[in-house]
Symmetry: C2
Subunit: 313 residues, 2 copies
């Protein structure tokens, strides 16, 4: 990363994720210049207005530079962040081009939610440069970034990326090996699978599942993740004590858990309930309340605990 200010960040793609990252850099206290390269050639004015909608109400129109060629977009960039379509061939071809034009020490990040760096980098001369930096949507609100290197990604790239995000008050987590779906989604999908099973069995409705999670695990896990929570639940015995006390119930739940598949007959029931209850969801309201939740957690940070505000990891 260039050590002189300003740092030029190039965002490739101006869909939901690309614009959300651009919004994050725009409101950052650090000095970034932002270049957007529209892979789908949307008008700059359209992209600008979409971006503006993500910024605080009183924020001035950001000085985004729109590049007309990939070369122009990346040739002076310190960070190049790919937020394009989830298409392997597109990404492979993009990286082989970017590699030709980008400065040697530029960080190359893919925002993919599922295509590993080892596949994306196959047409690159130097596969060690590419790193998956998977955000939790939308990244201008949510603090998590999963850093998922391939076996060839070099340690320096991982460390500089981690430093960038910690300095920006975010929580980068280094996923040690490439794995299907990375970690956050795997965890969430495991819970989702059981939730679908219970709705399909008629035990609870879609809305009741959401009420349950919003009023129990959600707020709890915003403060203390599952291991920390159950470690506390075990009293002086910690996590081991927890499993000693109720391991039998945990195992019984695991054995009894649903093994439904995508495309199963549950879809009709679950999709219809969701549509009927929620219609079209106001994402702005959700994001505003989520920010308040994150502030509530942040405001109470102590220097002992993990904290994305003070950078303790």
């Amino acid at each position: 990363m260039a050590r002189t200010e300003p740092v030029q960040i190039t965002v490739v793609g101006s869909g939901t994720i690309g614009l959300s990252f651009a919004a994050f850099y725009t409101v950052s206290h650090r000095y970034y210049t932002i270049t957007i390269y529209n892979t789908r050639r949307k008008p700059d004015s359209y992209t600008n207005s979409k971006l503006l909608a993500l910024l605080p109400l009183d924020h001035p129109t950001p000085a985004i530079r729109y590049a007309s060629t990939l070369q122009e977009a990346v040739q002076n960039a310190s960070i190049i962040q790919e937020c394009g379509p989830e298409n392997l061939l597109f990404k492979q071809s993009l990286w082989s081009e970017i590699e030709r034009f980008a400065p040697q020490d530029a960080l190359l990040w893919s925002s993919t939610s599922g295509i590993p760096a080892s596949l994306q980098s196959q047409r690159m001369q130097d596969k060690s440069r590419l790193l998956v930096v998977h955000p939790y949507n939308p990244p201008h609100i949510m603090p998590l970034l999963e850093l998922v290197p391939s076996a060839e990604t070099c340690e320096d790239v991982i460390q500089r990326t981690k430093q960038f995000w910690v300095e920006n008050g975010r929580v980068p987590v280094h996923i040690k090996r490439e794995i299907t779906g990375f970690v956050a989604n795997r965890l969430a999908f495991a819970l989702l699978r059981e939730a679908i099973h219970l709705v399909h069995q008629g035990i609870v409705s879609v809305e009741e599942v959401d009420n349950i999670v919003e009023m129990s695990m959600g707020p709890r896990w915003a403060v203390a993740g599952p291991f920390k929570s159950y470690h506390a639940g075990g009293g002086e015995g910690g996590l081991e004590g927890f499993f000693r006390n109720i391991g039998g119930t945990v195992q019984a739940c695991w054995e009894d858990g649903g093994r439904i598949s995508v495309g199963g007959e549950w879809e009709k029931i679950v999709f219809e309930q969701a549509k009927e209850i929620y219609g079209v969801i106001d994402i702005e309201e959700r994001d505003r309340i989520t920010s308040k939740v994150l502030e509530a957690v942040r405001g109470e940070c102590t220097s002992q605990s993990s904290c994305y505000d003070c950078g303790n990891m």
Copy 2:
């Protein structure tokens, strides 16, 4: 439930859950008198000081009545809430005694996290009276209550119980059928299983799993549960659109998910990491921050959405 104030609530058992419920009733704006029946004959002064620790700093010492016999404890109660040990024979014998002494219209609630009402009620004359009211720990902080009737529990008991909790600003959810572990724990345990698997595989550490959840799903699900979140994630297509877009990845994660069991070799690794990182956890701090998170969500409630503050369900 008696319609005249004050309502007498008897809590049977003064462990963590019993005292937490007593604390909730103590700070309620409604007019309750609280009776505690210590199944393990702890000194009243000890119980009182434990209860006081759960109340706001400036709260006066509550006027708890301690009953010396079960008959004295329940004979004038409108609500009898069992928070005793998780032991089937204990609960069966307790309910058959309570039934003899309690007013005919008293609500009989068990706080069990796993022993269904259908088993607990087997020695009762009138099995229709018993309802499981399973809190999320600690109930003086967490809004969720799972109402889990047996097939014999009468509808009136369910409805009066639901009304009581809604009037108290809480979120009772009616679980339609008895099921192992009820719903909240089944959902959480499903995620926990995958989390353990990923730590055991060396993909992430215990602390990293907690960081991931605290910085992504936790705050998100405090605001919008999993179905609502993914319904929003699907844009105009809703939940169906979400599965159309990334159903393949979801299925791949499900198929690749860990199937670990309680007692497996993962325990040594995971228990040790948890112990090393967390030691003994400050539950008071966790609960204080959790309250702030819940306030952040509550403060933003709109009359359209489900809300435990204004009673919209």
